[in-house]
Structure formats: structure tokens, C-alpha cells
């Protein structure tokens, strides 16, 4: 789909050598902090920005050579797109459906279906300026669906949404992917990429820093952590003495807990637990925690995911 994409704004290299392929029914999560170049990638692929070097094609159409053909098969929603605030949801959908040159009977049916399927009946005839954040975002995404796109671009579709609206967007993304749509989703939320994406591309400062499935990224970068909670402070001290020689041990006296960074899988975890048990250390609870994408993100980009909001353009 995209091959060695690059984009410069004057001296600033916004995107440098980013490549990926998204198949039918696949969701690619483009993950990165603010200013990483996520939106620029989306704008290049959706014909809003020119491609400085590299190439991209969507459903067999080259983005640079045949932008009109590309525009017929894509849908765009999120921070790169919006809806007409003065028009109602129904009027907005009518507007975009007409611009896609859908015939009137198809238009009618499709709009009615979308309004019902995405539960917009309640507010479909009020101007969009009166909508809540969640309602507006729903309309924004539905507007990208009027022409049943083969490839859907969702640019930070849940930024600024409350948890319920976010869950609704997630459901919609899942069901669209199930129906065969290729989806490129940009996000700065790791759990969102984890929940939705089949493939993740982590970019930072315009460059690809990692790529893979959520599971492989977590396996490669993060480690499992065995958290052992102990009954008393005495237990904690004896456990500490016992495991002093081990690497990757951290102690949390407040929660009376020891965390082991595990590299040897289940066997090593059992081994640690057995040694504690043999010394009659009282264990109140334990769990094996898989690394979160948050850990991965931190390891890869050296920055936390929760940086202040910024309008990237």
C-alpha cells in the first residue's frame, strides 16, 4: 500500500521512509506521539498532501498518478476531516452521497441504513453544531462510509471522546473490518491499537521505530512481570534476602510486593515461587503480568504516551 513514503516541509522532514501494506479486513494501527508524522502519512495517502518521494497505491490505483480513482475508493474521518456544522446528520450524508455520485434510490437506502445501524436517529435531523462530541464523531465516521470505501482512514478517531463513545467507535471499527474494509487507524492511545489493530507500526519523528503484531511487539520489547504479594514485612525481608542475587527484582514495600522481570517464561516463574515456598515465605497473592503496549511505547520512543495535546497539521 505505501512504499518508502517521505514528506518534507521546507527543512523539516515530517515523514521519512515509511512503508506498509494493509490487506482486506485488516486494521493497521499507526502509533506514535504527537508530531510523529501520523497525520502527514494519512494526508499523503488520502491525496490531501503531495508525496515528496516514495509511492503509494490503494486498491491498485497510484495515489500520485490517479488521485481521482483513489478518492472513489477511500473514506476519511477523524482530525483530518469533518462535517458541515450547519447541516444535520441526514443532510451531511446526503451531501457526501451526492458528491460520490450515488444514484438517488441507493443514496436514500444507504443513508437510512447508516442512520439506523449507527443509532443516529435521535439526532439525525438537528444541525451538527448542536451535537455532543461523541455524536459528532459518530457522524464524522459514518460520513466516511457513505460510498462503502475499500480503504478507510481514521485519523485519531477517539481523541477527546469519553469512554462510552470510544467503545462505540471501537465496535464500529471492528464490524467494518469484519465486512472486508481495510482500515488505517492512527492513534496515540496504546490500548486502542492493542484492541483494534492486526498490525502496528510505531513511528516517531517521521521514522518507523517498530512494526509487528501487538503480541510480537510486546514479546520483543516488553518482558513478563511476576508480581508476588507477601503477607508481612518479615516475609518481604526474607524474600529479599533469598532473591538478592537475581536480576530484575524490584521491591515495593508499601504494597508489600516483589516484582520479578521474567525472561524464562512459565518455568522461571514457577521456580521463583517454589524457592519462596521452600523457605516458608508467606505468599498472599501472585500474578504474571504481560507487558502492556505502554511499556513497549516507552521503550521504543523514550517518551510516555500521555503528552500534552497539540493540534498537528
Amino acid at each position: 500500500m505505501a512504499n518508502a513514503l517521505a514528506k518534507r516541509f521546507g527543512e523539516v522532514v515530517a515523514v521519512d521512509d515509511v512503508s506498509f501494506t494493509v490487506g482486506a479486513s485488516e486494521v493497521l494501527g499507526l502509533l506514535g506521539p504527537n508530531g510523529a508524522g501520523k497525520t502527514t502519512v494519512v494526508r499523503m495517502l488520502t491525496t490531501l498532501s503531495s508525496i515528496d518521494s516514495g509511492s503509494a497505491s490503494i486498491a491498485g490505483h497510484d495515489v500520485a498518478d490517479d488521485p481521482d480513482a483513489v478518492r472513489r475508493v477511500i473514506g476519511l474521518a477523524g482530525q483530518s476531516a469533518a462535517v458541515d456544522e450547519k447541516l444535520s446528520a441526514r443532510e451531511n450524508l446526503e451531501l457526501f452521497a451526492r458528491l460520490y455520485k450515488l444514484a438517488k434510490p441507493i443514496r436514500r437506502r444507504r443513508i437510512a441504513d447508516l442512520i439506523e445501524r449507527f443509532d443516529m436517529g435521535e439526532f439525525a435531523d438537528r444541525p451538527a453544531s448542536t451535537y455532543s462530541g461523541g455524536q459528532r464523531r459518530r457522524l464524522d465516521i459514518v460520513a466516511a462510509l457513505v460510498a462503502e470505501p475499500l480503504a478507510l482512514f481514521l485519523d485519531e478517531p477517539t481523541t477527546g471522546l469519553d469512554p462510552r463513545s470510544r467503545a462505540e467507535v471501537w465496535d464500529a471499527v471492528r464490524s467494518l473490518a469484519n465486512e472486508g474494509t481495510s482500515i488505517l487507524l492512527t492513534t496515540q492511545y496504546l490500548d486502542e491499537a492493542d484492541q483494534l489493530a492486526d498490525q502496528i507500526l510505531v513511528i516517531d519523528k517521521g521514522r518507523t521505530v517498530a512494526t509487528g503484531t501487538p503480541e510480537s511487539l510486546k514479546r520483543d520489547v516488553g518482558r513478563d512481570v511476576l508480581e508476588v504479594s507477601l503477607l508481612t514485612d518479615d516475609d518481604l525481608q526474607s524474600a529479599r534476602r533469598l532473591l538478592a542475587s537475581e536480576e530484575g527484582v524490584s521491591i515495593d514495600p508499601e504494597d508489600c510486593r516483589i516484582d520479578f522481570s521474567i525472561t524464562g517464561g512459565t518455568r522461571q516463574s514457577l521456580d521463583v515461587l517454589r524457592r519462596l515456598e521452600d523457605q516458608a515465605v508467606n505468599i498472599s497473592d501472585f500474578q504474571l503480568r504481560r507487558p502492556t503496549l505502554d511499556d513497549v511505547f516507552l521503550a521504543l520512543t523514550g517518551s510516555s504516551a500521555d503528552e500534552p495535546e497539540e493540534i498537528s497539521r
Partner: protein
């Protein structure tokens, strides 16, 4: 999932599609105009200001000693000025539109990009037509008399057409600047000289000699003269040709230019 894609599009199809897109955008912009009646009110109020203020404040001074009734002279000029104000509003409105995120969506759609601007300028031309009709009603109440109904309609249509031409000049500025307040300030540079150094409010021969050539042939003057001719039933064909010529010239230069500026990708 399969879709049927036309592999080859002929020029005629493109042209029909562009026509449909313009009609669609006109539909959208008409709804928007209808939901912002204050825009129409503002356009009419400007016309009313010019009519009432110039007639009662300056009318006495300008008309003093002359054999002419100043209101008869003023009303056609006010038509043209109202249409010009409408064009300036159109420019600011377009800048507001272009600053909205929905413009990016339009640019990602398989549509004729001309339609984004043309829909707006056409919708504004219709709004202008309604505004001018209301100003004409007020003029009648104030005692103004048209030579004929046909002349009145032709005069209002001509003023609207001139305003439409200027709305494309405004569109080019709006496409470039995309900040409504900045567009508002920039429009003063073309609006005021054209408006005041014209024959809309006073005849050219009352102005100093160095100003007369400009004040005689600039678009607002020839438009005022032609509209006045239509209103009075004493049309000078030369004025009409010049007014139409200016309008066509504005369209020929600024329509392609504004579309080129608008479709430039970053």
C-alpha cells in the same frame, strides 16, 4: 469486495459531473444561507444605510442648485454598491468555509473542486438578488421611480452579475489567506476605492480632473452608469458593454486563479 470502476472517463462525463457537483454544493450553500438569515439582513441593512444616509445627509448638498433629484441618481448606485458588499461578504464567508475541517473532506472526495467555490459564489449571488429586491422595495417607498418593470429587473440582474464577478476576486483572496478577519481587512483595499471613487454616489464630472479617468472607467462606475441607464430607460450601450466586459474579465481571471490557489496541495 469488488467495485466497478470506470477505467476511462470522457470529457463530457467530467463536465456533467462538474455540473452535478456545482448543483450539489449550491444546494448545500443555500441551506447554509437560509440558516444564517443574519447574512441577508446585514447585506440589506448596508443597502438601507447607503440609501437613507446618502439621500438625507448628502442629498441636500449634492443636489443643491442642480436640476436633478438626487434619489433618482442614487438608487442605481446603491444597487451596485450593495452587490459589491455582497461579494465582500461572500469572500469572508468562503474564508470561514475553507478554514473548516469539512473542506479537507471535500478535497478527499471524487468531486470537481471548482464546485466548492462555485457553489458558494452562486449561492451568494442568489442571496444578493433577494437583498437587492428588498432594497428596491425600500427605494420605492422613499419615492424612487423606475422607468419600467423590465428595466428594474434588468438593472437588478446586472448589479447581481457584477457582484458575482467581484465575488470571484474575493474567492481568490479567501483561497489564499483562509482567515476571515484577514480577508475582511484585505477587502478594504479593493472595496473602498472602487466604491467611493465611482459614479455610484456622484457624477464623475464633479470630481477633480486627475481622478476622472479612473472614476469614469473603473468597473463600479460603468456598472453604476449601466444600471442607472436600465432604471431610467436611457441606457448607453457603451456603458452596458463595459460593465459586462468587466464582469467577464473578472470571471476569466479570478475563477481559474482562485481554483488553482484552492487546489494547491501542501
Amino acid at each position: 469486495m469488488t467495485t466497478i470502476q470506470p477505467t476511462h472517463r470522457r470529457g463530457a462525463t467530467r463536465l456533467t459531473d462538474a455540473g452535478r457537483d456545482i448543483a450539489t454544493m449550491l444546494w448545500r450553500d443555500t441551506i447554509r444561507t437560509a440558516r444564517q438569515p443574519e447574512m441577508l439582513v446585514f447585506a440589506v441593512v448596508m443597502g438601507v444605510f447607503f440609501l437613507v444616509l446618502f439621500n438625507y445627509v448628502f442629498g441636500g448638498a449634492i443636489g443643491a442648485g442642480a436640476e436633478v433629484d438626487y434619489l433618482q441618481f442614487l438608487v442605481p448606485g446603491v444597487f451596485v454598491i450593495t452587490a459589491l458588499q455582497g461579494a465582500q461578504q461572500s469572500s469572508m464567508g468562503l474564508a470561514t468555509d475553507l478554514a473548516e475541517g469539512v473542506t479537507d473532506r471535500f478535497r478527499s472526495l471524487p468531486m470537481s473542486q471548482v464546485a466548492v467555490i462555485a457553489g458558494r459564489t452562486l449561492a451568494d449571488a442568489f442571496r444578493n438578488l433577494v437583498g437587492l429586491a428588498l432594497v428596491a422595495l425600500l427605494a420605492l417607498v422613499m419615492g424612487y421611480r423606475f422607468d419600467s418593470a423590465t428595466g428594474a429587473v434588468a438593472a437588478i440582474l446586472l448589479a447581481t452579475a457584477v457582484g458575482f464577478g467581484f465575488s470571484w476576486l474575493g474567492a481568490a483572496i479567501a483561497a489564499k489567506v483562509r482567515q476571515p478577519d484577514m480577508v475582511g481587512m484585505l477587502s478594504m483595499f479593493w472595496l473602498f476605492p472602487l466604491m467611493l471613487a465611482s459614479t455610484a454616489f456622484a457624477p464623475a464630472d464633479s470630481m477633480p480632473g486627475w481622478l476622472q479617468p479612473f472614476a469614469t472607467y473603473q468597473p463600479i462606475s460603468v456598472a453604476s452608469d449601466a444600471v442607472r441607464g436600465l432604471c431610467d430607460g436611457a441606457l448607453d450601450t457603451g456603458d452596458l458593454v463595459l460593465a459586462v466586459g468587466w464582469t467577464v474579465g473578472l470571471l476569466a481571471v479570478f475563477a481559474p486563479l482562485s481554483i488553482r490557489i484552492y487546489t494547491e496541495t501542501d
